[in-house]
């Protein structure tokens, strides 16, 4: 017994450390979620809920709902474009000997290292110069710019020599190039395609700076939340923030499940 006690005492600092670390990461989110269920008008202690009135307020606010629909559309469409472009680029670089391949690859992945603020400013200047009006389309283009390098990197890393040999086998058995792509490469790469799509969706879903700078009348949810915050804190912002967080978590969970399942296979 004393030995076990001693052991437990020794483990105490470790558990304390773990608790502090996770607290540091999750406490703000926890507080946000908790006070979204607040009954009164101000999201500060004491907590006097739970109540769903602020969620009701969010879901009956037409501006919020418009922003939500915009966010979903931008996230799904821009991710789709990013995955398709990233896949084609990865396939070209992994399967063919291209001149300046190293340089091409470098330029494709470089935006990963550039801050969103710089990308947003660059896009803003470019759109202005070209006379492209700020809209959801420009937001979508911005999100393709940030997600394409990610999709390319994920997909390129999954196109190994073994996969190339499987495509060779398909050709050997009489498949034409488009048949190799449609019947073998895409289905074989399905988990990686899925992963890059869902990662893109989560990044687009809560991206703020680019969406803020290149949109005008129609805005995405993070931008709508920001304009709401300018009028002061109230539990409604907590509610919509919690909702955004919930969707992000759900997407990551789906992604995790799919990847884990394919790993086992």
């Amino acid at each position: 017994m004393p030995a076990a006690l001693l052991h437990a005492l020794r483990a105490l600092p470790i558990w304390l450390y773990v608790l502090l670390l996770y607290g540091f990461i999750f406490l703000p989110v926890g507080v946000l979620v908790l006070f979204s269920f607040q009954e009164s008008r101000i999201p500060v202690p004491p907590f006097n809920g739970p109540s769903l009135r602020w969620y009701e307020a969010v879901f009956s606010d037409p501006r919020m709902m418009d922003a939500l629909a915009n966010s979903v559309a931008v996230a799904l469409l821009s991710s789709l474009v990013a995955v398709v472009l990233g896949f084609l680029a990865a396939y070209a670089l992994a399967r063919h000997r291209l001149p300046l391949a190293g340089l091409l690859q470098g330029f494709l992945t470089a935006p990963l290292t550039v801050s969103y603020l710089i990308i947003a400013m660059g896009l803003l200047i470019t759109f202005n110069q070209l006379g492209v009006p700020k809209s959801l389309l420009t937001v979508g283009i911005g999100h393709v710019v940030i997600n394409l390098p990610l999709c390319f990197a994920i997909l390129y890393s999954q196109m190994g020599e073994h996969q190339a040999n499987i495509e060779r086998a398909a050709r050997d058995l009489g498949a034409r190039e488009w048949q190799v792509l449609v019947l073998v490469t895409v289905p074989m790469m399905w988990p990686a395609l899925f992963a890059s799509f869902f990662l893109s969706v989560t990044f687009s879903w809560d991206e703020f700076i680019i969406a803020f700078m290149v949109s005008r009348f129609d805005v995405t949810l993070p931008v709508e939340i920001w304009s709401m915050l300018r009028t002061g804190l109230n539990p409604k912002t907590n509610a919509v923030g919690s909702f955004v967080f919930l969707i992000s978590i759900a997407t990551v969970l789906i992604l995790d499940l799919v990847i884990l399942r394919s790993r086992k296979a």
Binding site: I166, R168, A169, L173, A175, A265
Partner: protein, 353 residues
């Protein structure tokens, strides 16, 4: 005269400055089991890739049944390949894997199903059609890859070190099966391996390749018993190569002077030429008999038991090189033991290359 199943004419392959194949001329007879044998980097896989259409040769021509295919893509060649890593389609069922080639050829569904079933039965996996690839063992994947390649009835089946990933016992078993299946379907098989035992076990014809050239080719017996070059003599199983010089030519016999004495043996060579004698370990004996001459007295340096025989290395007095010989299963031998060595000059093979 019918056209050979495969013919290489003057085929060369260069990768940048590196010469992978040098003027390959080779004709492969219809229905034979040909093994391309050689060390890694010898050019055998490059030759197979040229035959499969995955590489175009730098120069030269390739013919399959008389028609030129040098620049025909793999999809339109009458060849299929069994890949080293099997390259099965991981996202398809076994039946879909085997039926893929037939689907690409537009074979109707009902006929396809029947032929897939027959192919799976041929490789002994008739009951697995609906299973997934990852549920199979290595040996089973190997058979599926074979069924997938054979079901489209290619003129030539290419096998790229297909048994390399299997353990020894399974490999021996698959060798027998491959041989049996080849006899049954009668398709020309071209098989690449670096395992000379495998080559002898399955090949009708062995083509020994080294440094991008064909060193030797012929039946396993011919290549093993009468190797054409020093490389072949060393590569095909254990051997003793004794360097020497031709001192006298007498009709179809030559006398060769070596460090172990002078021997008169069959063969043709010019007087004064540097030659080598190939003397297999199983042809070296510790006792004399009719026709045998002595090579000298030696001391056993190393001895190992191989089940069917003892293999030992013997150092002869006054020589640096050791000779390898085989002793019968029940003859116990210890390092340090003194042995007299005898051989029949008729078992020695004159090698001029």
């Amino acid at each position: 005269m019918t056209d050979p199943a495969v013919e290489f004419r003057n085929v060369s392959m260069r990768f940048g400055d590196k010469v992978a194949l040098q003027d390959i001329d080779l004709a492969i007879e219809e229905g034979s089991f040909v093994v391309l044998l050689g060390p890694s980097g010898g050019g055998k896989t490059t030759l197979l890739n040229i035959l499969g259409g995955f590489l175009a040769p730098s120069s030269g021509q390739v013919f399959i049944k008389g028609s030129e295919v040098t620049h025909v893509p793999p999809a339109r060649r009458p060849t299929t390949t069994v890949f080293q890593d099997y390259a099965l389609f991981p996202h398809m069922s076994i039946a879909a894997n085997v039926g893929f080639g037939l689907k690409m050829r537009g074979v109707p569904k009902a006929e396809r199903a029947a032929r897939v079933e027959k192919a799976l039965e041929m490789v002994g996996l008739g009951h697995t059609a609906l299973r997934r690839i990852h549920e199979l063992s290595g040996g089973q994947r190997q058979r599926i890859a074979l069924a997938r390649a054979l079901v489209v009835e290619p003129s030539v089946l290419l096998l790229d070190e297909p048994l390399g990933a299997l353990d020894l016992k399974l490999r021996r078993q698959m060798q027998e099966e491959l041989k049996a299946i080849q006899k049954r379907v009668g398709t020309t098989f071209v098989h690449v391996t670096h395992d000379q035992e495998e080559a002898m076990a399955i090949g009708d014809v062995i083509v020994v390749m080294n440094d991008g050239s064909i060193e030797d080719w012929g039946s396993p017996e011919r290549v093993y018993l009468q190797p054409a070059s020093r490389f072949t003599a060393n590569f095909m199983g254990d051997n003793n190569l004794i360097e020497g010089r031709v001192t006298r030519v007498a009709g179809d016999r030559v006398e060769v002077a070596t460090a172990f004495g002078s021997f008169l043996l069959p063969g043709t060579a010019e007087s004064g030429a540097s030659v080598a004698l190939s003397l297999r370990p199983e042809h070296l004996h510790p006792e004399t008999a009719a026709g045998r001459v002595t090579l000298g007295q030696g001391r056993v340096v190393e001895a190992g038991f191989f089940g069917t025989h003892h293999q030992c290395s013997v150092a002869l007095a006054g020589h640096e090189d050791v000779l390898k010989l085989r002793l019968p299963q029940k003859r116990l031998v210890q390092p340090g033991e003194s042995l007299g060595l005898y051989a029949d000059p008729a078992d020695m093979v004159l090698i001029t290359r």
